[in-house]
């Protein structure tokens, strides 16, 4: 593991980012990680989402995983909720769609209509 001093410095910068971000989070992203999701590549999708947050230095987006949401044919499924808007469900979010999804909806606040699962 990297040195403890290094982690201590990271901790201080992270605390500063928390202060700047204020209470709560900008958005919530949920990746469906049931057997069906994993088989369709959900782990790689989630790794890519975390990679985008790291790359763009986004400190106020919570990414969590959940089980099968019952829409197996649309996996990998990603749900996004920005601020206090309704949560929307996206289907077939392979790694090559992640950058656009983060850019347009998580950062830009505009849902990517063509990837939404209508149900």
């Amino acid at each position: 593991m990297k040195s403890l001093e290094e982690l201590q410095k990271i901790k201080e910068r992270a605390l500063e980012r928390r202060r700047l971000a204020g209470e709560g989070s900008r958005a919530r992203v949920v990746v469906a990680m049931g057997t069906c999701g994993i088989a369709a590549g959900a782990r790689d999708t989630m790794t890519a989402i975390l990679g985008e947050l790291e790359k763009r230095q986004i400190a106020d987006v919570v990414v969590t995983q959940t089980g099968c949401v019952g829409l197996c044919e649309y996996e990998p499924i990603v749900q996004v909720q920005v601020g206090d808007q309704d949560m929307v469900t996206y289907g077939n979010i392979d790694t090559d769609r992640v950058s656009t999804l983060v850019e347009e909806h998580v950062v830009g606040g505009e849902p990517v209509e063509k990837w939404l699962v209508r149900k």
């Binding site: 990271i10 901790k11 980012r17 990680m33 994993i38 782990r43 990414v63 089980g67 099968c68």
Partner: protein, 187 residues
């Protein structure tokens, strides 16, 4: 017949079972022992566990506790893969205490799936389940790597979320570098 490309996807699947069972602590052991021609993977959780009837049926592909879909396929796939690779599979559980899932494989068996993206899998399990602690213990021959999120959380304190971009980078970097070092040491 297999749905997963690699063992790290199985690991993700078992971890998801554990969090669904309400686990707050997950122990993951990976032991690569090429000299003994054996690779074993074990996941132990402190979730709600299963009673003997459920445990007997859990390797049956037509059993699941899920309500969104009628079949459960993760455990039967892992059992089948282990048995196909000259290994074995075991699952033990105590209601109220937790569940342990173990799978072993012949290390050099032609059908043995690769370990796959362990660093990415662990990062997702750790960050994606904010109320779960993970103790990861990986041996390759005499080499060992241990990563314990309880230590990390203690150092960071309650106010620093693990989804902070620099913390993400720290966890990803540490896992990637240490796992690479572990494999190259053994080679």
């Amino acid at each position: 017949m297999t749905v997963f490309r690699d063992l790290s996807q199985h690991l993700m699947d078992i971890a998801e079972n554990s969090t669904t069972a309400g686990a707050t602590l997950l122990h993951i052991y990976i032991d690569e022992d090429p000299d003994a021609n054996r690779l074993s993977v074990e996941v132990r959780d402190n979730g709600r566990g299963m009673d003997p009837q459920m445990l007997l049926r859990v390797s049956d592909p037509w059993v699941t506790t899920r309500t969104t879909r009628k079949v459960g396929l993760g455990i039967p796939f892992l059992k089948q893969t282990a048995e196909m690779c000259g290994g074995d599979f075991q699952i033990t559980s105590v209601p109220g205490e937790g569940t342990a899932t173990r799978a072993a494989f012949e290390f050099d068996h032609i059908d043995r799936p690769p370990l796959g993206d362990l660093a990415g899998t662990l990062l997702c399990i750790i960050v994606g389940n904010p109320t779960l602690d993970v103790v990861y213990c990986h041996h390759v021959g005499p080499g060992e790597f241990v990563f314990d999120t309880r230590e990390l959380r203690e150092l960071l304190g309650p106010e620093v979320p693990l989804y902070d971009p620099e913390i993400l980078g720290f966890i990803r970097g540490t896992l990637t570098e240490e796992l690479m070092a572990l494999e190259s040491e053994a080679a």
